[in-house]
Subunit: 214 residues, 4 copies
DNA sequence: CATGAATGAGTATTCATTCAT
DNA sequence: CATGAATGAATACTCATTCAT
């Protein structure tokens, strides 16, 4: 028998299948999501197949289609999950911010901490960029939404004269770009230090390289 | 005639083949590259297939394999082409820079202008990020190389006290992140204005949001 | 309708599909084996393709891969089937042999009769010899195993002084070689006469050309 | 550049090509035969491709077709070469045989010695058996011809009462079968001893296991 | 005659998706 | 709802063969 071909003969599985079925019955959807997150993180969105996902599950092929219509849809669900968690955390962080700079630093810190604690989700998110055919927006809906909120915050801050008048679109883009690139750099370091990263990002954003003193 | 057995006898083809052979001989590789660029831009790297590429060509399937061994290799060739052009332009731009700020602005301007003038190449480059399995480095070799050079420039500038001592890794990442995000934002605007984008990016990088005045 | 785009909508197929599924479910593997035997017999192992096999079936391409992973594997299954049948028959025949000569003749007779009754299997077996890359052992595992058993029998007979001391390796090889060559000659005759062939082979082996009297 | 893809760029070859061309001009056919023998021995007939053959040569693809029309034809040429050499040696050996038994032993000795001295040719010959589609005669034309001659010799011997009347077809087949199987066994031994093999084969053929005393 | 780029039919294999049970 | 065998379009890649040079 082949090592790679880790099919389990049907009869072997019957025993634990019964249990699994009972316990999962309400949560097959979750089982699929968990498997999918791992698979996307490992293989990337493009490289992953629906078969890879269900293989990591005790479920049958067809069952997948009772919950999702295709790979895209699972990915979306996963993204939304992340997006909602992140959005909630971010809006929580904002509440406690006294001024714009604190608001920015808190946002970065929340964002960096979130992924520092969830490396698999980090890899999942990375596997998003450049999805087949979805070239128009490489960021995924939840990122787009998050940045839209950010833009409103920035425009409000400008209106309230908390920060100088400026190109809000570019500023928003910059926040996102800095967040992505610093995140990538941070995740490759050891130890991973979200506080350092957040301070750097916020300082740089607020004062440029002069402010980003170590 | 039988549909399944639709072999075409060699002699049937001679007429138009003669021309094709003569005219393409030296430029089939180019024809493939041109087609590949368009296909990648349209479908993304992951979504594109070798068949898609040759279909956009009047070459036969096998001809593709006379020039490249797979999709990856065409992509690499395309990337290298872009990377080399860009590197040449950037090093040219640097020569004329009087100080660090001018160096940064010139770099951004060169980069933004390059893609502003080559929208298809821009879309091609975007389709790079997140290549299957190549999760470890989403940026492609030429971007990595470009950033490595940039990092050396930054470290040199820090050593010469042209800029404050700082976290060179984060600074380099930031330059890249800002470049990507501003580029994306710029390309969606109409008209596309590389000068504005470069000034914004350079100002922000040098002085933070205070400096990034419109 | 377009020839290239001849997708059949699923619903079109339901009618005859239902039957096929029900009737074949347990026997698709068999259907493939039957087809494979015929194809190998006709085209030889090297000349046969997986497509040839499934084409002889009313199954879909992919179905083949639900049962076997490639051509090699079907062939092995077929060979083992033959090998096991033959081994069983041979060991049965041996039991009834009173002395070494009877043992040899019974073996030959069993062997010749087996193929005389299964001409297609005979052609299948012939298509084995000289499999690509498997140059080291042209005989296939089951033949090798059969000859190994035979060798033990010979060595035992020599130890018991039932036959003269001799080069057991050469003797075993000879039994195989005589079996093959006489089988080939026998199968080309009409009528096919396994008894005559077995008597000839056994006599020759026991007494040389003097013994092999007609 | 790829290690596996050991194409040599055209310009690199120009130098030695000129020489090669001059020296080979009359013997390209031979160069192909030499390469083909090695390739068939290594990959087996089925596994070898025309490309494999010419790749082992300094010649261009198309040149192959100036000398042979396909793989089959080279193989045939190679076989005939061997067949003719062998036939010549055998008829030489026969001349010196005083009686039938000496004739048989001399034949075996010649045959075994021939392959003992040409292991590559031996492997080539083995790669013959079971050629695609050529199931009807697994032995190749030269073997068939050799055996036909042998059959005439046997029939003549029977007519002259040098040996008992018998089934000439079976006897001839037996000679071939014993030759093949003893050859295979002999080639796996170390040292390879054609004299021992020939004596064994001849004795066995003449007197059966009683005669085949060590 | 030699060359080697071009050809395109052919092969193995994968995988999303359906559907009878 | 769950199952998983069946499906067949689609893909990457090979290779014998042709033919303009």
């Amino acid at each position: 028998m082949n090592i790679e071909n880790n099919k389990v003969s049907p009869s072997n599985r019957v025993g634990n299948r019964a249990n699994k079925r009972a316990s999962n019955r309400a949560s097959n959807r979750d089982a699929i999501l968990v498997a999918a997150r791992a698979v996307f993180a490992e293989l990337g969105y493009g490289g992953a197949t629906v078969r890879d996902i269900i293989r990591r599950t005790d479920l049958a092929t067809g069952t997948f289609y009772n919950y999702f219509t295709n790979k895209e849809e699972v990915f979306e669900a996963l993204s939304n999950e992340t997006g909602e968690e992140l959005r909630a955390l971010l809006s929580e962080a904002r509440k406690n911010a006294g001024n714009f700079e604190q608001f920015i630093e808190a946002s970065y810190l929340t964002y960096f901490t979130y992924y520092a604690e969830r490396p698999e989700t980090y890899r999942l998110m990375r596997s998003n960029r450049g999805r087949d055919g979805d070239n128009s927006n490489m960021k995924g809906p939840q990122v787009t939404a998050g940045l839209a909120e950010m833009r409103q915050d920035i425009e409000r801050a400008m209106k309230l004269r908390m920060i100088p008048q400026n190109d809000a679109g570019f500023l928003t883009a910059t926040i996102g770009g800095v967040a992505f690139s610093i995140l990538d750099e941070m995740m490759e370091r050891n130890p991973i230090d979200p506080h350092h990263a957040a301070r750097f990002a916020a300082n740089l954003f607020m004062r440029g390289i002069d402010g980003a003193v170590e």
